[in-house]
């Protein structure tokens, strides 16, 4: 399977009056065509900024991609100017964000907004018909009627469907969904996740799903990348990452999660919290919270080590370091 999206040593920085920070630090990731890849992490892990960096659409003007490259279907997006990038956004890369109300214009009907997303790339001729078709595709009842309604006339779940219609109306190759169900109730979340599964199957769309919810990733994605403080710490197929995690952070995260299917109590927790990215710890950024910390971890950034099914950025997988410093 070829890779539709490749992030190659991507680094994004934000310069503010109070100092600069690097929310995306040397991130490399491959997203095979047709797959669903989950980018998971806690707040401040840089997972959303990674998504923004792909299409260089940042919530703040202080952010910019400092180095690294992004390939979409072999094309280097970093060489594109703003005008060329606009032809990629929406057309080849669809985007869905967390809050369904802030991404819809309250004074335009949902049909107009979906039609506009199409017209940006293909002109207004036939745009309304295409918008109605897309609203039907995302499971909105009576799409021709719904198209004439305003966002406030729709429920939260229906608004999120309208946003998804906007994202898929141009039939993009890649859909980036950033916490698409976080603001929704669990029964509505189930509807939206089901819709994303259907759209993937029908349109052969590749999905990059960004979420803090390990359950959502486990249900939706074949490949998982775990981020911590701006870096990917572990990446691989979902089964080995969830069942035999190789990075102590992934291990701690999974131990903190509870399942609705089992009677279990939390016994082990990770102490501390995600570091302030203005002052990230040296070496491995997880070392202040790591139960297995070694001297090397405090000074040297760990590279990605290949473990059986996955790769993990942890010195525990370097036999030389473990032989020298590891606890027996």
């Amino acid at each position: 399977m070829s890779d539709l999206l490749v992030l190659d040593h991507l680094t994004t920085r934000i310069d503010t009056a109070r100092g600069s920070l690097v929310p995306v630090d040397d991130v490399s990731l491959r997203v095979p065509a047709g797959s669903a890849v989950g980018l998971v992490g806690e707040s401040g892990s840089g997972k959303s900024m990674t998504a923004f960096s792909i299409v260089r659409l940042f919530p703040t003007t202080a952010a910019r991609v400092q180095s690294g490259r992004v390939f979409l279907d072999g094309q280097d997006l970093m060489t594109l100017d703003e005008a060329a990038l606009r032809r990629v956004r929406g057309r080849r890369v669809g985007m869905v964000f967390q809050d369904p109300s802030t991404y819809l214009d309250p004074v335009l009907t949902v049909g107009e907004q979906v039609a506009e997303a199409w017209a940006m790339h293909f002109g207004w001729e036939g745009a309304w018909e295409r918008a109605v078709e897309a609203l039907g595709q995302v499971g909105l009842p009576e799409p021709a009627e719904t198209a004439r309604r305003f966002p406030h006339e729709l429920s939260g779940g229906m608004r999120q469907r309208a946003i998804i219609a906007q994202a898929i109306v141009c039939r993009p190759q890649l859909l980036i969904a950033d916490e698409p169900t976080t603001a929704l109730d669990v029964t509505i979340q189930a509807q939206i996740l089901d819709l994303l599964r259907q759209l993937r199957a029908q349109m052969g769309m590749t999905l990059l799903l960004i979420t803090h919810d390990l359950g959502v990733v486990a249900e939706m994605c074949e490949i998982v990348a775990v981020m911590y403080a701006g870096r990917i710490v572990e990446v691989g197929p979902a089964q080995p990452v969830f069942l035999s995690p190789r990075h102590p952070y992934t291990q701690g995260l999974l131990a903190s999660a509870v399942s609705v299917q089992q009677a279990q109590v939390i016994t082990r927790v990770m102490e501390g919290s995600v570091p302030d990215l203005r002052h990230p710890p040296a070496g491995c950024r997880f070392h202040p919270r790591c139960p297995h910390v070694m001297p090397t971890c405090r000074t040297e950034v760990p590279p990605m080590f290949a473990c059986e099914g996955q790769t993990a950025a942890c010195w525990l997988h370097d036999p030389a370091v473990v032989a020298r410093e590891g606890r027996p």
Binding site: A190, A255, A263
Partner: protein
């Protein structure tokens, strides 16, 4: 039971109607729930289910439209002054938004000290006792936290301060409304562990309000599931999760993502949204979304079916469903 609500209703007047009666938003309908010493009772449901309003009624922050609150068996409305004060000390809240719950202009020592003052601790002693409470909730070294302002704390630390503030009056019951929902996974686990330790050490009772079924299963002894202002199923946690006898409970469990990629299960996907509490559906309020609704559900409000062990479900077919579970597990 230390704290009980019996037949609680809370209606809000909603908008205006020129003809006919003024519409009421029925946030809470016929809710009966209680917590005993050292016990965690969870109230679960989606937004608009009435779980937060129920919590506010039990805290005495709002008066019920009908029904009564019992504190140690005595009706709250008729409590004589001194017992009313005791109620105020004994029943404490912890809310979801740890920032909004703290005065941004007051230090941690001041915030925690208020509760101590209410408990009759003199000014000289307050700082020392506040430090001890901070230690108890895991903020160490405590003296370094006393003079901090809320913005100088992380979300998890702020929630610990909120818990310390609640503990300052030596309560018997904490009504915790989504106390961990705004927290990251690793911090959420820390706070849940803390709450469980405090419960053991202080024999605390929790009314734990949450939308997260996985968290509820891990922390609650008993659980009550709310839909459209009513409790549709309640019972011992493991009973309810292993044998959900109301189709809504079953759908909620099924809709909750499981952090294990091997999980293969049939998903129950409910159609539509929760109806407006201004115009609740006829018959069983769940029938428009229910995957197994029959004719009777559209016309007749279901009875509360007793399924033994304190497990009840408000569904016409609860007994049949319980029997089906019994047949499946010998």
């Amino acid at each position: 039971m230390i704290l009980e609500g019996v037949g609680l209703r809370r209606y809000y007047p909603w908008g205006r109607s020129l003809l006919g009666p003024r519409p009421w938003l029925r946030a809470v309908e016929e809710v009966t729930i209680g917590v005993g010493e050292g016990e965690t009772v969870a109230l679960v449901g989606e937004s608009g289910s009435g779980k937060t309003t129920t919590g506010r009624l039990l805290l005495g922050l709002e008066a019920p439209t009908a029904g009564k609150i019992l504190f140690k068996g005595l009706p709250l409305r008729e409590l004589p002054g001194p017992v009313r004060l005791e109620f105020r000390r004994a029943v404490q809240p912890v809310f979801q938004d740890s920032t909004a719950s703290l005065n941004p202009r007051k230090t941690v020592a001041h915030t925690v000290g208020l509760g101590l003052a209410a408990g009759g601790v003199g000014p000289a002693d307050r700082r020392r006792q506040a430090a001890r409470l901070l230690e108890e909730v895991g903020l160490e070294p405590a003296p370094s936290f006393l003079d901090r302002f809320p913005h100088q704390l992380s979300g998890g630390q702020r929630q610990r301060v909120n818990i310390a503030r609640a503990l300052a009056t030596a309560p018997a019951v904490i009504v915790a409304d989504e106390p961990v929902s705004a927290l990251d996974l690793s911090v959420r686990a820390q706070i849940l562990l803390l709450m469980q330790r405090l419960q053991r050490e202080r024999r605390l009772a929790y009314l734990f309000i949450s939308h997260d079924l996985a968290v509820v299963r891990s922390i609650a002894h008993r659980v009550a599931v709310m839909y459209l202002g009513r409790i549709v199923e309640q019972g011992p946690t493991e009973d309810v999760f292993r044998r959900p006898c109301h189709p809504y409970t079953e759908a909620l469990i099924s809709a909750t993502p499981v952090p294990d990629p091997r999980t293969k299960r049939e998903r129950i996907i409910l159609p539509g949204d929760m109806p407006s509490p201004l115009r609740p559906p006829s018959g069983c309020p769940f029938h428009p979304r229910c995957p197994v609704a029959a004719d009777i559900c559209r016309t007749t409000f279901p009875p509360t079916i007793d399924l033994a062990n304190g497990h009840t479900a408000v569904c016409h077919f609860a007994a049949e469903r319980a029997a089906a579970f019994a047949a499946r597990t010998p």
